[in-house]
């Protein structure tokens, strides 16, 4: 366990360092945006007096580094701060939005990940024959179309023409679980189509790579069925590249779905972040940025750890 424990704790420490660096980057980035919060709150209806009043009240006259450390201090105590634009606590608001985002991402992942891996296995089993070509062609086509286009096409047929699923995916507390699933059906389909190809192609490539090995030939010569060779012997040894690409896609499902959220009016983190960026609501933007960064770092950590665990050479060092 010794070297592995060391490896893993190194990774975690590195992750924390990364997050700190990200927090500085995020802060610097939001400082560089043109315009300021007071002007954005009042929009075109700003008068000089009203602007001065708002700036004084929100403490926008303090220097940047003081505001950074105040924020970081609060953060370490679990306080995300107060949204400048509407004076509400950020924590509960983000919690709700993050919950929605994770719900959408998890539902899409539950469908997309097994489907992608299964399709990858099938593609390897029938490599260079028509099922392989069909799977590759279809998934590549769906990843090549922009997601808003797929979204609109699905809305046109499923919501407007046939009225099977709603076009507006707004979910709220008083809905039952099944109602929520029905509401998010269309965005889940879009997200599945978008992430499917990447994971499926990687599964196929990784397994094909292993298929060249001598022990696969042995397994084949033992007389095992082709699918069993792939699933039992080739797949475990190609887990690490597959897990990497799966986590990247999971991260994308959490942080990269602004467009899908806008089209389907889904109350997730992406839309929440965009609203606050355009209002220069710095504390919220920073909190969102940091949460997104955490998601990326944690998922990559998990990928690394799984890769380490799945590698016998690291699990059983000499």
């Amino acid at each position: 366990m010794g070297p592995m424990f060391k490896l893993i704790s190194q990774r975690i420490a590195l992750g924390i360092l990364l997050l700190l660096a990200v927090s500085i980057l995020i802060f610097a980035g939001t400082e560089m945006l043109p315009g300021d919060l007071a002007e954005s709150i009042l929009g075109q209806s700003a008068t000089p007096e009203a602007l001065a009043n708002i700036r004084a009240e929100l403490g926008l006259n303090d220097p940047a580094f003081i505001r950074y450390f105040q924020w970081l201090g609060g953060l370490l105590q679990g306080d995300l701060g107060t949204a400048l634009s509407n004076g509400q606590d950020i924590g509960p608001q983000i919690g709700k939005r993050l919950g929605n985002t994770l719900f959408l991402a998890a539902t899409a992942a539950v469908i997309a990940v097994p489907l992608a891996i299964f399709l990858g296995l099938v593609a390897v089993r029938y490599r260079n024959r028509w099922p392989d070509k069909l799977i590759s062609g279809a998934t590549l086509a769906s990843i090549s179309l922009p997601e808003f286009f797929i979204g609109y096409v699905l809305i046109y047929f499923f919501a407007v023409k046939w009225r099977v699923f709603p076009s507006v995916a707004t979910v709220y507390d008083s809905m039952s679980f099944l109602e929520k699933l029905n509401a998010i059906a269309l965005p889940v389909i879009v997200l599945t189509l978008v992430v499917l190809a990447h994971m499926m192609r990687m599964t196929r490539a990784a397994i094909l790579n292993v298929m060249q090995s001598a022990y696969i030939e042995t397994a084949e010569l033992k007389g095992l069925s082709a699918f069993k060779v792939i699933a039992r012997h080739a797949f475990p040894n190609s887990i690490s590249p597959i897990v990497n690409v799966v986590t990247i896609n999971l991260a994308y499902l959490v942080v990269g779905v602004v467009v899908v959220e806008v089209i389907f009016v889904y109350p997730g983190m992406g839309q929440y972040l965009v609203d606050h960026v355009s209002k220069r609501d710095v504390p919220v933007v920073q909190a969102c940025g940091l949460i997104f960064a955490t998601v990326y770092v944690v998922l990559n950590l998990i990928a690394d750890i799984v890769a380490i665990l799945s590698n016998p050479r690291l699990r059983h060092p000499k």
Binding site: L33, D36, T47, A50, G87, I155, A159, S167, V168
Partner: protein, 527 residues
């Protein structure tokens, strides 16, 4: 008209027969579709509003940063929310006049300096307390106070004193203002208990609905206020506002029957939406206008000939056709159109490349003129800038177009750079429009228009209680802006809303879109 058809239409109006069956049976009786649907519509109006049901609105503008403080409300969604739970003292009427709301009557002194408002008796807030004249005073104090962040602050200048006398609220101004009732009808000024000084975001008011669920930028649910005093407002039992900012998603939600009405249908698709079954598009003329603004005190636009050259170099009809797709009217380089109560026609300025070339030569300007634009300055602004570039090119004037980012446009470009695209939402009166943007001392004098004679006329018109005389003064003021000012106003945009056949009671109304945001309150659910 056959009695059978009449009988059927009445049944349909009462909801005992659905629309589709009615149309089918009407066709069987030999009525044309148009005739049958006109007949149904009038029968529905005659039968009167149906109470109850859930009315859903897909609305543009909301954001998760929105506050419930009436003073900070800036977009179409927060305005709609105010209409639901709150009430102002006075309200803009459908025809552009003034309706009393929380004030049952009001009067001005002969010099239009002292105004007295009598409170409607027996009106209570949703928390059970009575609405008093003291609350009105506190509300105006909060919005007009020195610490105020309210969007209505600019309207409330010049108040000398406020007092109450039993159920009367008395307001004194430093200069006469015949238009004061219009200023008090501003949407920010909903009356709150103690003026909202204790908690401005409590959403406690005397409106027809009570806020039940509030998720900014997502969804707002309202339930009927059982003690509401006015039977003409608030027919549905529950009203749901769904914030849908994406244009296509909003229209799709209406098409798929998830909402009963939407605002801001993009002009590009308005006619297509109108052709769909079960949906009706309402394109309502408004005082809103899309503009190209020059700073009249900044070179090269400080030259009157150059300003005139550019005004003659724009093709207004073409813009109405290609930018608004016919959903609007040509402007005349004044911010005033027929939507205003005291409007009078002036001679229309038209596209004239020869005159433009003449004035351009007279200006002595050499080289090109830089025009800044962005997507959010008005819908289709970059396209409009290109049309302008072409029509000006035909007159020998070179326009360079610089595309600015949406982000920060209102803080970095508008009211800062000398020539850019922008829009105005219009104001209820000419006085309000001119004092907001054309008076020398106005905060938003975005054309840098400084004209002493114009300022004097504005004050004179404000104190003038004779309508004929005011009308004449306003007409002259429009002419001055049009000839001297830095405003190029090619078009007035219509508000385009769409409603499904599941609701009835639409009436053309002045003010903002969705019947001045009264559609969810004045319309009712039929199916």
């Amino acid at each position: 008209m056959s009695n059978e058809l009449k009988y059927l239409s009445e049944r349909a109006a009462r909801g005992l027969l659905n629309r589709r069956s009615f149309m089918g049976r009407a066709a069987a009786l030999g009525a044309t579709t148009t005739f049958a649907s006109t007949m149904l519509a009038s029968a529905v109006m005659a039968a009167g509003p149906v109470k109850g049901g859930t009315l859903r609105v897909g609305i543009q503008g909301g954001s998760s940063t929105d506050s419930l403080d009436p003073g900070l409300s800036t977009n179409a969604t927060s305005l709609q929310i105010l209409r639901m739970w709150g009430e102002p003292l006075l309200e803009l009427a459908e025809d552009g006049g003034i309706d009393p709301r929380l004030a049952s009557e009001y009067e001005a002194s002969a010099d239009a300096k002292t105004w007295t408002f009598k409170m409607r008796s027996g009106v209570t807030y949703s928390n059970g307390k009575s609405v008093t004249a003291e609350d009105v005073k506190a509300t105006i104090e909060r919005h007009a106070g020195e610490e105020s962040k309210s969007g209505a602050l600019g309207l409330l200048r010049g108040i000398v004193s406020m007092s109450t006398d039993g159920d009367r609220f008395i307001l004194e101004l430093d200069t006469p203002n015949a238009d004061l009732p219009y200023l008090l009808a501003d949407y920010h000024l909903v009356i709150q208990p103690n003026g909202g000084k204790d908690d401005p975001t409590a959403a406690i008011g005397s409106g027809p609905y009570i806020l039940k669920s509030h998720e900014p930028g997502v969804r707002h649910v309202f339930e009927k206020n059982p003690n509401y005093w006015n039977d003409d407002l608030g027919h549905a039992e529950t009203v749901e506002l769904l914030v849908i900012n994406d244009d296509t998603a909003r229209v799709a939600a209406l098409q798929s029957g998830q909402v009963h009405m939407v605002n801001r249908v993009p002009p590009k698709v308005a006619s297509l939406v109108g052709r769909m079954g079960g949906v009706k598009v309402h394109s309502t003329p408004s005082a809103g206008h899309y503009v190209f603004i020059m700073h009249a005190d900044t070179a090269p636009f400080d030259n009157k000939d150059l300003r005139l050259a550019l005004k003659y170099a724009i093709n207004r009809e073409e813009m109405v056709d290609k930018i608004l797709f016919g959903n609007g009217t040509a402007g005349n380089d004044s911010p005033i159109n027929a939507s205003y109560p005291l409007f009078s026609e002036r001679e229309q300025r038209t596209y004239d490349p020869e005159k433009a070339a003449f004035h351009f030569k007279a200006s002595g300007h050499d080289g090109s003129v830089l025009l800044r634009t962005s997507d959010n300055s008005f819908p289709g602004a970059p396209d409009a800038a290109q049309l302008f570039q072409q029509s000006a090119g035909a007159a020998g004037i070179t326009l360079d177009i610089k595309r600015e980012p949406n982000d920060g446009y209102w803080s970095e470009v508008w009211n800062k750079q000398p020539f850019c695209t922008s829009y105005w939402g219009g104001r209820p009166t000419q006085d309000a429009m001119f004092s907001t943007a054309y008076l020398s001392s106005a905060d938003w004098n975005d054309t840098r228009f400084f004209n002493e004679g114009f300022d004097k006329m504005l004050l004179a018109a404000r104190a003038e209680l004779d309508e004929g005389k005011r009308k004449a003064i306003y007409s002259d003021m429009s002419t001055i802006v049009s000839d001297e000012g830095g405003l190029i106003c090619p078009m007035f945009n219509n508000f385009i809303d769409a409603v499904s056949e599941g609701v009835e009671g639409w009436r053309t109304t002045k003010g903002f879109d969705l019947m001045n945001n009264y559609a969810p309150l004045k319309m009712w659910v039929t199916a």
